[in-house]
């Protein structure tokens, strides 16, 4: 017998899984940033440290959207606001 509570828990788990689809975008973005940084280092090896710090900054900003998805998933799984 499936009660309403069980249904909400199951749907929360599915929703948490769906929320982590948000990880696709930052992955692509960070890959592009790292690729271009590698190309830049290849062209100008002297500026390696500056390129690396710029790349890390850009990647961290790109990562934010993925982390929003993670926050939603964590809230759905462990805080259980809907039950």
């Amino acid at each position: 017998m499936i009660t309403g509570q069980d249904l909400i828990l199951a749907c929360s788990a599915i929703g948490a899984g769906l929320a982590l689809i948000a990880g696709v975008g930052p992955g692509i973005g960070q890959g592009i940033a790292a690729g271009h940084a590698a190309a830049a280092v290849g062209r100008n090896p002297g500026a390696k440290s500056e390129i690396t710090s710029t790349m890390l900054l850009g990647q961290a900003v790109a990562e934010t959207t993925g982390l929003y998805g993670l926050a939603v998933a964590i809230i759905l799984l462990f805080v259980k606001p809907l039950t």
Partner: protein, 234 residues
């Protein structure tokens, strides 16, 4: 027979309760971990102060270490803030050391204080205050009229952008550290004992050391970029 215990244990634990203004508050593991981190930092600071006060012409190991830290932090702040670096280097260095030690405290068995949203939100709000204090100080009333800048129609979007800054800063730090904490908690809780003996050291190295150091750097860097954006270069 492999025993799998389905007890993933990584949430904040309540330790002591106390009453204040009719509300019940809890001292949690976050407070304890923060206290330990702060005490370690203070002891290190006192020791560093003594070492520098009696500085030798040929530095020993500890004095070298302290000089290295100060030099690296100085150059990091100077590279991104230029002439204004001397005003912010103390604050940035302090939060850098605090966040770094908080992030890597997961290695020593503590629950990282930065995996508690209350801590990172406060760090984000301090940055928010710093941004607008310096913005008002530099640009006076223009700081607020800048919100209407390209078009008055864009005021709501600009306002949301300003409010989102501390939220995204704090969520970024929290999300990264929390994801590491959750992963390690799941690994320790769900795996049979055999797998939780040597393998987690790699996970600790990645989630606590690498990710923690990167996020510390990013938090300080973004704080400097946001503040430097408001006060300009001169």
């Amino acid at each position: 027979m492999i025993q799998i215990s389905a007890e993933a244990d990584f949430m904040i634990k309540k330790l002591v309760s106390y009453e204040l203004f009719g509300q019940t508050f809890w001292l949690t593991t976050t407070h304890v971990a923060m206290l330990i981190v702060s005490v370690v930092l203070i002891i290190f600071a006192v020791a560093a102060n003594r070492a520098i006060r009696h500085a030798k012409p040929v530095p020993g190991v500890f004095q070298n270490f302290v000089e290295l830290i100060v030099e690296k932090l100085d150059s990091m702040v100077k590279n991104s803030m230029g002439k204004n670096a001397y005003r912010f280097v103390n604050y940035i260095s302090s939060i850098f050391l605090f966040i770094l030690l908080s992030n890597i405290s997961g290695i020593f068995g503590l629950r990282s204080p930065t995996a508690d949203y209350g801590v990172t939100l406060m760090l984000g709000l301090i940055t928010f205050g710093l941004i607008h204090y310096n913005g008002v100080k530099k640009n006076k009333i223009q700081h607020f009229t800048n919100l209407f800048k390209p078009l008055p129609l864009l005021f709501p979007i600009n306002l949301i952008g300003e409010v989102a800054t501390p939220l995204s800063l704090s969520l970024r730090l929290f999300g990264n550290v929390m994801s590491g904490t959750v992963m390690l908690g799941l690994w320790y809780g769900m795996m049979p004992l055999l797998f939780s003996l040597g393998i987690p050291s790699f996970l600790h190295a990645y989630f606590d050391l690498f990710s923690g150091a990167i996020q510390t750097y990013v938090f300080c860097m973004l704080t400097m970029v946001y503040v430097g954006d408001k006060i300009g270069d001169d």
